[in-house]
C-alpha cells in the first residue's frame, strides 16, 4: 500500500490533484482511493487530501494515514499545519517553496534529517497556467521523486484527465508538469 497526504489550501486543487493521480494510476490496473477532509472550510483554509494505491482492492476507509509521501502545495503550510503528523522514518516530503531545500530546512527544523525535496509549484503554475494552481506541477515533481511512471505515459494520461478544459489550459498544464519534473530538487 502506497499512501500519500496532500497539504493544501482550499481552492489550490489538491482534491483535483489527488483524483487526477488516482485516475492515472487506475489505468495501470492498480486499485486507488482519493479523498479529502472537507468540512465547511472556505477558500484559503488549510485542508488535506489523500491517496491510497495498492495491488489489491482497498478496503480501508479510515481517514487516519501514516503517509509514504507528504505533498505540500502551499508554501506557508509548513509553518502552520501539522504536516509531519503520523510520519514514518522514510516518509518523503515534496514541498512547494521559493527557497532551496537547505534554506527551507533551516527555516523549519521539523524537516531536519528527513527526505525533503523542494519545487516552486506556485511560481511554475503562475508562469505557465497563469494562476496559482499548484496541483498539476506537484504531480510532475512526484513523478520525478517517486519514479512512479515515465513522463510520457503520465502526461498522456493527464491530458485525458484534463480533457474538459480548453486546449490552451491543457497545454499549459503539460508545460507546468514538465517544469516541476525538471526543477524539483
Amino acid at each position: 500500500m502506497l499512501e500519500i497526504r496532500w497539504h493544501s489550501r482550499a481552492g489550490q486543487g489538491a482534491v483535483t490533484g489527488a483524483k487526477g493521480l488516482a485516475d492515472v494510476v487506475s489505468t495501470t490496473g492498480k486499485h486507488v482511493q482519493a479523498f479529502a477532509f472537507y468540512g465547511s472550510a472556505k477558500r484559503g483554509a488549510a485542508m488535506t487530501a489523500y491517496n491510497r494505491v495498492d495491488d489489491a482492492p482497498i478496503m480501508n476507509h479510515e481517514k487516519f494515514m501514516a503517509p509514504d509521501y507528504v505533498l505540500v502545495i502551499d508554501p506557508a503550510l509548513v509553518y502552520v499545519a501539522d504536516f509531519t503528523a503520523f510520519e514514518k522514518p522514510d516518509t518523503t516530503y515534496i514541498i512547494t517553496t521559493h527557497m532551496t531545500t537547505e534554506e527551507l530546512i533551516a527555516s523549519q527544523p521539523k524537516l531536519e534529517g528527513k527526505k525533503v525535496y523542494t519545487v516552486d509549484c506556485i511560481k511554475i503554475s503562475q508562469e505557465t497556467i497563469g494562476k496559482a494552481i499548484p496541483n498539476t506541477p506537484m504531480l510532475g515533481a512526484l513523478m520525478k521523486v517517486s519514479g512512479m511512471y515515465e513522463m510520457d505515459f503520465f502526461k498522456e494520461n493527464m491530458i485525458r484527465v484534463l480533457k474538459k478544459l480548453p486546449q490552451k489550459i491543457i497545454d499549459a498544464n503539460m508545460i507546468a508538469i514538465q517544469r516541476a519534473y525538471d526543477e524539483v530538487k
Binding site: 488516482a22 486499485h31 479523498f35 478496503m59 479510515e62 487516519f64
Partner: protein, 406 residues
C-alpha cells in the same frame, strides 16, 4: 433519443458520480431536486447529463426537499421513472412525503448520502438520516463504496418498479467517505445497464386517461388499516425474493455478487462486528489482520436495512459467541438501532451470544482500524467469559473521559 456515453471499463468515480451515472443509464424521466451537501453532485450530475443530451428527462428545480419529494410523487403517480437525492436536514424535511410515497405505492428511487443531523451543524457523514427513514415504508439498500452506489441503483429500480412490489427504495452511501471518495468503478455500457433495469412499466398511471384512477385517497378508519397491512405485506413478503432475484441476475451479468446480509469470515467466527457503510470494509481489513494472529473474528454487513433480514441474520449468527453492534448515530435515550434490531432478531432463536453496542463516528469522526481492534478485543473477552465484560453501550473515538451506559 439520448446520446450514448462511452465509458472506460473502470472509471475512477466517487460515490456521487457513480450514482449520477446510474440515474443517467437508467434514463430517469423526472428528477425533482433541492440539492444539499454531500448529495448535491448526484442531481447536479443528472442535470448536466440532461443538458448535454445524454438523458431524455425532466429536471424540476423546487424550493425545498419537501417539494422535491412531492414533485417526485406527482411524477411517479403520473407514470414515469423518478429519482432524486438528499441528505441530513433535507432528508428530515422530506420525511412527511416519504410516507406518502410508500403509502401510494410509488416506486421512486432516493439516493441518500448519509450525513449527520444538526444541531450542531455538520456536513459530514453519519447514519442519523438513514435511521430516521427506517419506519417510512421504503426499501433501504446500503452501499459501502462507490461501486456499490452504482450497482445498487440499478438493483433498486428493478426491484421497486416490479409490479409485485411497487414500493419506493433508498440507496444509501456514506457522506464524504463514499460520496466524495474516488475509487475504481467497473462500469456497464449504457445499453447493458438500461436493459438490466428494463423499460419502465406504468401501473395505475394518472396520465393513462382511458383508465382514470385516484391516488392519495382519504380512507379514515374504514380502510386505513387494510391499506397499511397490504403495504406491509408487500414489504415483508414480495421484496426480499425480488431483491435476491435481482442480485442473482446482476451477478450473472457482471460477476459482482451482492447478498441481503454480507458476511466476511463468518463460517467459524467466534466474534463478529455488525455494521453498515464504509465501516464494513474497514472491519474486513481488520479481520484479515486478526485472522493472521489466529483470532477467529468475522464481519456482518447489513446490505438490506429495510425490509430487515431477521431470519438471515439469525442463521448467520447462530454459532457466534460475542457480537458487537456498531451504530453511527446517536440513539438519544436508548441502545443503538443495530443493537435493538439484532437483539430482536436473536431473541427467540436460542442463540446465547453476548451482545454489546458501540456508538461511533458521529458527524464524520474517523473509525480507525485501531478502534476496531479494540472492539474485537472486547468481544474476545466477552466470548471467553460468556458474559458482558464491558458496559453494554460504549462510545468509541470520543474525546474526553470514557462514556458508556447500561
Amino acid at each position: 433519443m439520448a446520446d450514448t456515453m462511452e465509458l472506460r471499463d473502470i472509471e475512477v468515480w466517487d460515490g456521487n458520480m457513480a450514482a449520477a451515472q446510474a440515474l443517467r443509464q437508467a434514463q430517469v424521466d423526472v428528477v425533482a431536486a433541492y440539492p444539499i451537501t454531500p448529495s448535491t453532485p448526484i442531481v447536479e450530475g443528472y442535470a448536466t447529463f440532461k443538458a448535454n443530451g445524454y438523458v431524455d428527462g425532466e429536471f424540476v428545480m423546487v424550493e425545498s426537499e419537501h417539494a422535491a419529494m412531492s414533485g417526485c410523487i406527482g411524477a411517479a403517480a403520473a407514470g414515469g421513472r423518478v429519482a432524486t437525492a438528499t441528505s441530513s436536514q433535507g432528508f428530515a424535511l422530506m420525511v412527511e412525503t416519504l410516507y406518502s410515497a410508500s403509502g401510494m405505492r410509488l416506486p421512486i428511487i432516493l439516493n441518500v448520502v448519509n450525513r449527520a443531523i444538526g444541531a450542531p451543524l455538520n456536513v459530514n457523514g453519519d447514519h442519523s438520516d438513514m435511521y430516521m427513514g427506517r419506519d417510512s415504508g421504503w426499501i433501504q439498500l446500503d452501499a459501502y463504496n462507490p461501486q456499490h452506489a452504482y450497482d445498487l441503483n440499478f438493483i433498486a429500480f428493478k426491484v421497486a418498479e416490479d409490479h409485485d412490489v411497487r414500493l419506493p427504495a433508498m440507496v444509501h452511501q456514506d457522506g464524504f467517505m463514499t460520496s466524495h471518495t474516488a475509487q475504481g468503478v467497473c462500469t456497464l455500457s449504457d445499453e447493458v445497464a438500461y436493459n438490466f433495469v428494463g423499460e419502465f412499466q406504468p401501473m395505475n398511471d394518472m396520465l393513462d386517461l382511458d383508465h382514470p384512477v385516484t391516488h392519495g385517497v382519504q380512507t379514515e378508519e374504514d380502510w386505513h388499516f387494510e391499506h397499511k397491512a397490504r403495504q406491509q405485506h408487500a414489504l415483508m413478503t414480495a421484496v426480499m425474493p425480488k431483491i435476491e432475484a435481482a442480485f442473482a441476475e446482476f451477478e450473472a451479468l457482471t460477476g459482482r455478487k451482492y447478498n441481503v446480509v454480507e458476511t466476511y469470515q463468518m463460517d467459524d467466527a467466534q466474534t463478529a462486528v455488525i455494521c453498515m457503510g464504509t465501516s464494513v470494509e474497514t472491519a474486513m481489513e481488520v479481520v484479515d489482520e486478526l485472522r493472521a494472529q489466529g483470532i477467529k473474528a468475522g464481519v456482518v454487513g447489513i446490505r438490506v436495512f429495510r425490509p430487515w433480514p431477521l431470519e438471515q441474520l439469525a442463521e448467520i449468527l447462530k454459532n457466534v459467541k460475542a457480537i458487537g453492534t456498531l451504530d453511527r448515530s446517536s440513539p438519544h435515550g436508548t441502545v443503538g438501532t443495530l443493537y435493538n434490531e439484532i437483539a430482536g432478531s436473536l431473541f427467540n432463536t436460542g442463540v446465547k451470544a453476548v451482545l454489546n453496542n458501540y456508538i461511533y463516528g458521529l458527524g464524520g469522526r474517523d473509525l480507525t482500524k485501531a478502534h476496531l481492534v479494540g472492539i474485537y478485543q472486547d468481544l474476545q473477552a466477552n466470548a471467553e467469559s460468556g458474559t458482558l465484560t464491558t458496559p453494554l453501550q460504549q462510545y468509541i473515538g470520543l474525546r474526553g473521559p470514557k462514556l458508556s451506559f447500561f
